[in-house]
Amino acid sequence: MNALLEMQGISKHFAGVKALSDVTFAVRPGEIHALVGENGAGKSTLMKVLSGVYPHGSYDGAIVFDGEERRFSDINASESLGIIIIHQELALVPLLSIAENIFIANPPGRFGIIDRGAVHQRTKELLAKVGLDESPDTLVTNIGVGKQQLVEIAKALSKKVRLLILDEPTASLSEKDSAALLDLLLEFKAQGIASILISHKLNEVSKVADRITVLRDGRTVDTLDCHDGAVEEDRIISKMVDRDLEHRYPKREPNIGGPIFKVTNWSAYHPLHSERQVIRNVDFEVRRGEIVGIAGLMGAGRTEFAMSIFGRSWGQKITGRAEMEGRPIDLSTVRRAIDAGLAYVTEDRKQLGLLLAEDIRKNVTLANLPAIAPGRIIDDMKELRVASDYRGRMHIRCHSVFQETGKLSGGNQQKVVLSKWLFTDPKVLILDEPTRGIDVGAKYEIYCIINELADAGKGVVVISSEMPELLGICDRICVMNEGAFVGEFTGTEASQEKIMRAIMRKGEQRPMEALA
């Protein structure tokens, strides 16, 4: 079969570092080709070479598209051939409407005057194609991330797309939105549009991909054909990391004690819409040495619940009782929550977790400065000792603790955030999507850290959208939907089906009945 795209012997250097070496990659017409690999394996670099972000001449090798060698000078050159890339970080303008976003670069019209009618009409057609039921005039800021992703795809379709590249399209989507997106890819395939899907989520990859190419350390390791029988996830993983992952989740013997942290009748309202109750009279409890998972779809209220507990960082009109080790505690400010023994590791470590321009050392000590600053004057050597200590304990890979956190990989950044919270010596840690955007190897390390924390007698709460992860590490899983807990399972009895059923059942019943 003739390939639509062939990348032959691509090599790319950055200031002495070899990011890609002799990568070969081919996409057939109308196929979904998944590109997988650990963070830093070179997936994004390869796609940047393909789309012309790194222009011809800055790399070695050849790109053949449609049977001709192409030398893209910039991204416009590749787009004009129908190679459209959708980046992981969405590139939409929040305060413009869907229609304006879709036609932001070249709106239909004459002499620079936009034909609004045409924009509206064409946007409607595009939205119908991607199955998004929103008015073209809706502002992008008012729709969820899942829908924004669809807008991005509609935007891609507004150009003549022949090869669609999606970089981690489902990283921030719920299972339901992810499934819809993948269905869309299959539909495009039926129309003859080829896709390159970059993803960490192997279950999705094996669901839709025709072929899977694995990159490791800037080299092509293998291309697996999914039509030659099912490709096992573990096989892909072992290719990605070059080691057989016997278990994706470390083993642990739980040693669970008495209750340590408890909230009762916890309610919170939306920060902007004060009549909208988002967290509905929730009761929740963690025991010493226990790992509790909170499962739920995007928008179920998990993050909102956690942040409303953590010093009222989210919402308004927050009510309810909180107890730590049987004593009532005051959670009205973040400082008080920390002092009460609570720590919250945010789902968005770049926006909410780290000072990206500061070094590892200053990030690690930030939440507990008094411990290194007797009399409010910082003992810099003590600080250095603390940071170096965590660097060793958490295996933060860096050339020194004076390295900027912004320059670390996702997994190492997450370890810095975890170090920061461990340094506050919390009794209970709430980890919100602790492994989002982290490669497989680092995930395993994070799980080990979580286990160690539980073994040290702390209560650990893990919020995650990846159900296998919750099933793999939790002693107990609570299911949240529409701001209330709708089901609870022990780690051994839980399964993806049971969790999904708990969520779906909730949708059919009235909120309070489901709790009974």
């Binding site: 973040v334 400082r335 977790g353 500061e358 200053k362 600053a373 200590d389 004076f402």
Partner: protein
């Protein structure tokens, strides 16, 4: 245990390159000074002129210290010139018209400055109104109020003791030393020795903890240069009329703010707020209160600068403080502060202020008109920031 982790391999080769940014500013200052020293045929560094240089720029330096903190938290204060002018006017009215003793008058003025800062900081910190707008309003308000309380006229002169704030010199303990003021020289030498001692102590501590240190030769050379330069300047200053009072105030403030920003928890927290306000907040830092306090601090320093300026002119005029904010803000940005917040050093802001001051002074000596002076200053500001951005991209 952690000892091995602490031992980071020293890499001397890239040392100078890595630290060029830090020293680049200082090198620029010296280059500019040497340039003007040459083209003005040695007028720039004459003791008389040097003393003038200090007096002329003291209020800019003082305000730059406060402005740096404001900029580091990610804000800006456009009102400082007007506030300084307004406080000068209040001081004049209190001391000249109402005969208030200069000590309570000064305290009232400083407190009033803090109050003004608090009033502006309140809107910025708690109401989340952009500081650009709040302080633009403040700029108009206090410019107007200064005009109002002076009734459009100049008010002066100040009591002689108050004038000493700007025009006074530290007392000379050794009488009649043939044109030289030994006390001033000694103060300068002690200061230089103190700094060198601090550097050596810091290095010893770092070595004890196996932290990467700069090459020893470079370190020694740096300290020799530091000692030599400070003592030389002290000598020049001492051979005119001794150390101006305001230089003492300025030096003490620089030392205080350098210490607060680098070594205290509140300093660290201010940088955290500027670096990532949301992350700082979720780390238990009271971001609003810190922002508020930086504005209060700015207000007090603007008031102090207003007093120094009024004392120097020996009169309060409605035009006092006009355009100061531009010099002050420019000093911070030339000194490497980032307009996005989170980045900037006290030393940088001071050097930035001195660069502006030396250029003002040098160009005036050369007889360049105020028109082209502003053109050149504007270009230097743009150039300095461009260079900084370029360096950061490359890194």
């Amino acid at each position: 245990m952690s000892d091995t982790a602490l031992k980071d391999k020293p890499q001397h080769a890239g040392f100078l390159k890595n630290n060029l940014r830090e020293y680049g500013m200082l090198i620029s200052l010296f280059a500019i000074m040497i340039f003007f020293e040459v083209v003005t045929n040695g007028t720039l560094m004459r003791p008389l002129n040097l003393t003038n240089l200090v007096l002329q720029n003291s209020y800019i330096v003082i305000m730059a210290l406060g402005m740096l903190l404001v900029i580091v938290t990610g804000h800006i204060d456009l009102s400082v010139g007007s506030v300084a002018g307004f406080i000068g006017a209040v001081a004049a009215v209190l001391m000249v018209k109402f005969d208030v003793h200069y000590i309570p008058a000064t305290l009232i003025c400083l407190a009033l400055g803090g109050l003004i800062g608090a009033a502006q900081g309140y809107w910025v910190a708690y109401f989340k109104i952009p500081s650009f707008i709040v302080t633009l309003a403040g700029m108009l308000v206090f410019k107007g109020l200064a005009l109002a309380i002076l009734a459009g006229q100049s008010v002066g002169p100040f009591p002689p003791t108050f004038q000493k704030l700007s025009s006074g010199f530290i007392p000379e303990l050794v009488p009649d030393a043939g044109g030289l003021y030994p006390t001033s020289l000694a103060v300068g030498a002690v200061l230089a020795l103190g700094l060198v001692w601090l550097n050596f102590r810091g290095r010893a501590r770092q070595e004890a903890h196996h932290v990467e240190t700069e090459p020893y030769g470079f370190f020694v050379a740096k300290n020799v240069a530091l000692f030599g330069i400070i003592t030389y300047f002290a000598y020049l200053i001492a051979s005119h009329r001794g150390m101006p009072n305001v230089l003492v105030i300025m030096t003490a403030l620089i030392a205080l703010y350098a210490f607060v920003t680098t070594r205290t928890t509140i300093g660290r927290q201010i940088y955290a707020v500027g670096g990532n306000e949301k992350a700082a907040k979720l780390s238990g830092i009271k971001t609003e209160r810190l922002t508020f306090l930086t504005f209060v601090n700015m207000g007090v320093l603007a008031a102090l600068a207003g007093l120094v300026f009024a004392a120097r002119l020996n009169t309060a005029t409605p035009k006092a403080g006009l355009g100061f904010e531009l010099d002050v803000i420019a000093a911070c940005f030339i000194g490497g502060a980032s307009a996005y917040g989170g980045v900037g050093r006290v030393g940088g802001a001071v050097i930035g202020a001195l660069i502006m001051g030396v250029m003002n002074n040098g160009m005036s000596i050369l007889g360049i008109g105020i028109d082209y002076q502003q053109v050149i200053k504007g270009l230097v500001l743009l150039g300095a920031v461009c260079l900084d951005v370029y360096n950061q991209r490359r890194a």
